[in-house]
Symmetry: C2
Subunit: 419 residues, 2 copies
């Protein structure tokens, strides 16, 4: 334990020192590092898969689930997708150095805000080893050093991926401490990382709610977190019902296991009689189980009565909570109570209701007449994302390169003093 | 203790409910509340001072320092300045609802980012009761509910100030829970507030380093903090020395007890022989004690040899650490080691050095050829500020109205679904 504390402390210190150098890199050098890493990943596929095999073997011995093993596997496809991700990040504009605004004060002082790297970012994640590369790519491009703490089950894979990055960094005379994977797998390492507020500027946990709660409760460092995605579509009484069928179907069925899938559907009473039976048929064909309120169950034969815990539950599966509401107020109250500040959508043809919903629904993305599935950095046009924040400090919604930076004030004077 | 826990829990819940209503207020109504509160403060001066007298009496009984009692006093001037502060905040543009950007996706989805209130802000502060009004005004204008936890020594003053706000809120049918002062003074209340992550979105501590460290170590909620201001002026070898005298003098002497005053002066060796003696004479006349490195002491007779703990120390007094450096690299290394990420200035006529210093000095404000005393929301043109953040998450530098908001994504569709 004392060794882990010392090790983590040293890693954090080195990361902080490296961060000063990473912050100064030009976009040209950073992009070269990303593109060469992409090449080296593909060229080292065999080595990566041999190391990955050690993790897979242990996971099988431990009897871990197929889904777990699937996430852990560095298949050809996963390796290609990591390389492609790096190429995409290289193609994005460099946020560092952008002057977001500049203005002149009455005394002639020219004041501006310029985008700067955050410094040292620490990612704490679970089984997917591709996060190692995705996160390192985004952090580096935004001028940050990064400390990566993946799951113990992926340690060989993560170390192998890091070694490729190290090799490319060395070729460009960038300190290897800019990207470090924590080589030990005990929980003590996480606890210790969360205390290094002098060196680490931001913690980003990715994984289950348990991991995220642990990080939030134990960190002295700011945390960008995403607990869960309980997204709703509200079908208003003025909805174009044909459009509502498509949007609700897409929101629920296109990829039910992800955070921006719809988990609850709210239907205005005046259209429920017409909308629900047809929608239910379509969901039934797709294998979606409906858990409804009393009114829903009286309209839809196949609906199962919802239990209290179904409202606001993140099913991540072909299951949907359905509630008939008397008014848009009731829909907004429901969302305020059961939503998770992730994604909320309304389907309506009414101008004032669209406007009100956009203003009052409290979520990182609020949509009118579109699928909840658009809450994604790529889909919204930000490029790659490092996660989706459901709390409002620093970033709310998909976090792209810009969210991995801050701004500082700069002032150009010619001798100004304060009176 | 159980009572305090219950009380704080209830206050936090009520604040969250009120936040939804405050978020919807128009700028017109918010500004009226601020302007009427300003009037009512002046009209209730006697009541305020009578309540304040209770706090002052107890402070005197406890034998608290004159400086402490000065900060605690609601003099006519302090009351007028609170009223004036509210008028200035009312005159600032409302950040809420501003669409900071909007763009169209290839599928026709129109995506934007719109400024929204953070929700519930909790201020934890020490003896100055004027913070109650300053903070409430800024938080309300930015559409937030606020929970105020002032020092126990100012409890009567704070409750009296809150009662005036309550009265104005009631007149506009705004829930009084939008501005709440915690009526109990035990530390348990603070500890409990720091756990209410479900209701409170942001904690802003203001006070000594001890208070701030306590908050950071115990909070599960994001904290915007400012530990200390250890600001430097670097007098480059290419400095205009006449300008350097004025800037250094102003940075140190104009108001030595505040966070943006200069605490360390770095002088390039090539100009030290000419610059330091004249500068030292001027400082001596103003009663500034110099604590210098060996070279400084060999040039300036009156300089006292600096101890290691003088480097990076926040004197908040007429004391200055002075170091002669061999190069700009050494100056930047010194700042990286001893600075507090608050304010750093260079005096130079050299274009490339100005540019490099602006880029590499890691502080919330970096100035060329101007006094460190400009790091202030009003001076930089942001209007009133609620504090200066020296960490990079969410806000870095003076926090004005904009820093009390977040942005959410909005999307206008016409039936888009994801393929």
């Amino acid at each position: 334990m004392a060794d882990t504390v010392k090790l983590v402390e040293e890693m954090a210190r080195k990361a902080k020192a490296a961060a000063r150098e990473v912050a100064r890199l030009t976009s040209g050098v950073k992009d070269k590092v990303l593109l060469e890493t992409a090449e080296r990943l593909l060229a080292n596929r065999e080595m990566l898969q041999a190391e990955n095999a050690k993790d897979l073997e242990r996971a099988q011995e431990k009897g871990l689930s197929d889904a777990f093993i699937d996430r852990l596997t560095l298949s050809d496809k996963v390796i290609e997708s990591m390389a492609q991700g790096l190429r995409e990040v290289a193609a994005l504009p460099d946020p560092v150095g952008e002057v977001t605004r500049m203005w002149k004060r009455p005394n002639g002082l020219l004041v501006g805000r310029v985008r700067i790297p955050l410094g040292v970012i620490c990612m704490i994640y679970e089984s997917r080893p591709n996060v190692t590369i995705d996160a390192a790519g985004l952090c580096l491009k935004a001028g940050n050093a990064v400390v990566l703490r993946g799951g113990s089950d992926a340690i060989h894979s993560n170390m192998a991926l890091a070694s490729i990055l190290q090799e490319v960094l060395a070729r460009h005379s960038i300190p290897g401490d800019a990207v470090q994977v924590v080589p030990v797998t005990d929980r003590e390492a996480v606890t210790e990382l969360l205390k290094r507020e002098e060196e680490i500027d931001l913690i980003i946990p990715r994984g289950g709610e348990g991991l995220i709660r642990f990080v939030v409760e134990n960190s002295r460092i700011p945390v960008l977190k995403h607990y869960k995605g309980v997204c709703h579509v509200y079908v208003d009484k003025h909805a174009d019902l044909d459009m509502a069928y498509e949007i609700c179907f897409n929101s629920k069925v296109q990829r039910p296991g992800v955070c921006n899938a719809m988990e609850g559907m709210l239907v205005h009473r005046e259209v429920a009689g017409e909308f629900l039976p047809a929608m239910a048929r379509r969901f039934k064909e797709a294998g979606v189980e409906l858990r409804g309120c009393d009114v829903t169950c009286s309209i839809v034969e196949d609906a199962v009565p919802a239990k209290e815990e179904d409202w606001g539950f993140e099913f991540l599966d072909l299951v949907l909570a359905v509630k008939v509401v008397d008014s848009m107020d009731q829909a907004l109250d429901y969302i305020s109570r059961y939503g998770s500040n992730h994604t909320e959508a309304i389907v309506t043809r009414d101008y004032a209701r669209a406007r009100r919903f956009l203003q009052e629904a409290d979520a990182s993305l609020v949509l009118v007449n579109a699928s909840t599935r658009f809450n994604d950095g790529g889909q919204l046009g930000l490029g790659a994302e490092i996660g989706i924040s459901t709390s409002k400090l620093h970033a709310y919604g998909p976090m792209g390169l810009e969210e991995l930076t801050s701004t500082k004030f700069i002032a150009y004077g010619d001798g100004q003093v304060r009176e």
